[in-house]
Every structure is written in C-alpha cells, then in structure tokens.
C-alpha cells in the first residue's frame, strides 16, 4: 500500500468500516510510515474535538419567538382546514 492509497481509505479506516484484509494492509503500512501514523492520529483527534465541542445553545428569546411563530402558523393551518 502506498501513502496515497492509505489516504483514499482513511474514512473507512477511521470509521471502522474497512474490510479486514485492507485493514491489515493499512496497519502494516502505518507501522512502517510515521507520517501516515501521525496523520491518522491527528484525524481521529480532529473528529473527537468537533464531536465533543461546546454545542451552540439556542438563546431563550430565540426559542420563544420560534414557538410563537409556529403556534400562530399552526392555528392558521388548522383554521383553514
């Protein structure tokens, strides 16, 4: 496996959906290729950071406006039926 081929399989490897034979090849390549090893590690950490990052809280007033608009629309819709 070449570095470029590894790159093309990166998603499947990181997501754990790569087939076992290719996974073995992938790992054999990484064992002998420090840059690829570091890139894979960086990618995993990148995903972890975004997954666990601070969520954007919807502000209370924004939420209230949303529900007001929806209730109004709901009643319009159901009155028209």
């Amino acid at each position: 496996m070449k570095c470029e081929e590894l790159l093309a399989m990166l998603n499947e490897y990181v997501d754990g959906t790569v087939n076992p034979a290719i996974c073995e090849e992938f790992e054999r390549h990484m064992a002998g290729c420090n840059p690829c090893q570091v890139v894979v590690d960086n990618i995993r950490k990148t995903i972890t950071l975004y997954k666990n990052g601070e969520p954007y809280e919807i502000p209370a007033e924004c939420r209230e406006r949303l529900h007001d608009v929806l209730r109004k629309k709901w009643h319009e819709k159901h009155a028209a039926k």
Partner: protein, 216 residues
Amino acid sequence: MTMPAPLSPEIPDVELVRRAQAGDLDAFEALTQRHEQRVYGLAMRMLRQEHDAEDITQQTFLSVLEHLDGFRGEASFSTWVLRIASHAALKLIRKRKGLPTVSLDETPDDDDIHAVPHPEYIADWRQSPEELIHQHEIQRLLDEALARLDEKHRLVFLLRDVEGLSVKEAAAALDLSEANVKVRLLRARLQLREHLTQTLGDPASRLIRSHHQHEH
C-alpha cells in the same frame, strides 16, 4: 411566555409525528423542542451569525409544519429535519455570495479521490483532545477552521461527524451519492486536520514527508 413541558421522552418521534399529523399541537411542539437545538447548532456552524441561525431555525420548522402531512417516515424524522435545515442554510449562504441557489450540485472533481489534498503539516499534537476541549480558545479555533471549508464540505462534515448521521443518511439528506459524500467528508477531515495541526501541532515533532511515494 413559558414553554410547555416536553412530552415524555420515551415517546418516540414517529408517535409524536403521528399525533401532530392528527392535529395535536403539544406533540408538534415536543418534536420541535427535541430537534431545535440541533438545527440551531448546525445553522450557527454554517452561518456563524445568531440572526441567520434563528432565521434558518424558523424556516426549517415552518417548513416541517407545512409538509408534516406528507412526511411518511422514509427517513427518520431527525434526518428529515436536518435535510430541510441543510438546504435552507446552503440557500442562504449562496444568496449571500450572490451565487445561483441551485444547491449541492455535484461537480466532477468531487468524485475524484485523487484530487484530495495531501497532508502538509504533519506533527503530533501537544495536548490530547480531552485537555483541549476545556480550553476557552479552542472553540474559536474549531469555528475558524470550519469557516475555512467550502460550505458543501462543511455541511457534509457537520452532518456526519457532529450530528452523527451515517454516510447513507447524509447522502439522502443532501441528495448526493454516497461516493460523493465520502469524498467531501475526506476533504473536510483532511482540511480541518491541516488547519488544527498548524496551531495544535508540536513543531519539534514535525515530520517532513518525502514526495516520492514509498511502498511498504
């Protein structure tokens, strides 16, 4: 005005959808409450402005209300909602940029795995994600890196890696092929890695990759 208490969290979305379709406003509000946070978060990460995020959130749920009767549950309710929000966000971004608002067109290079950029800055990070996540500045860095992505790559990344949709679900939500989603996701992940590593990487551990391809 106070919000109604959410209906029991054990009631699945499909049941709430059925009740809302039958005219139960409480069920519709409960559905909205369950999903408004995700929609708002996605919109904030796509548009980076509270005003726009509010606009997208309202548009999304108004559209949900309008089309609720036609929702037959082919996809999960949450995927359906994210689909509506995604298209609304892209439309607004394209409008802002003065681009035609035909969304998510597949361009030929998107399917070309060989056009994926190669990693440039390769270095171990100085700290673990667990240490980083508690630092105030990290959120700004994450947002900046995201903002640098082309919106169609950003959207795929957010749906897949932040919202946790499968590749198949993301493809359905965005009307793309799975192959296309995979290539966009790879580009997004690689670009984010590049940007974050420039700040978080340890220069002392930086590796220079030789340009010829070696085989092992």
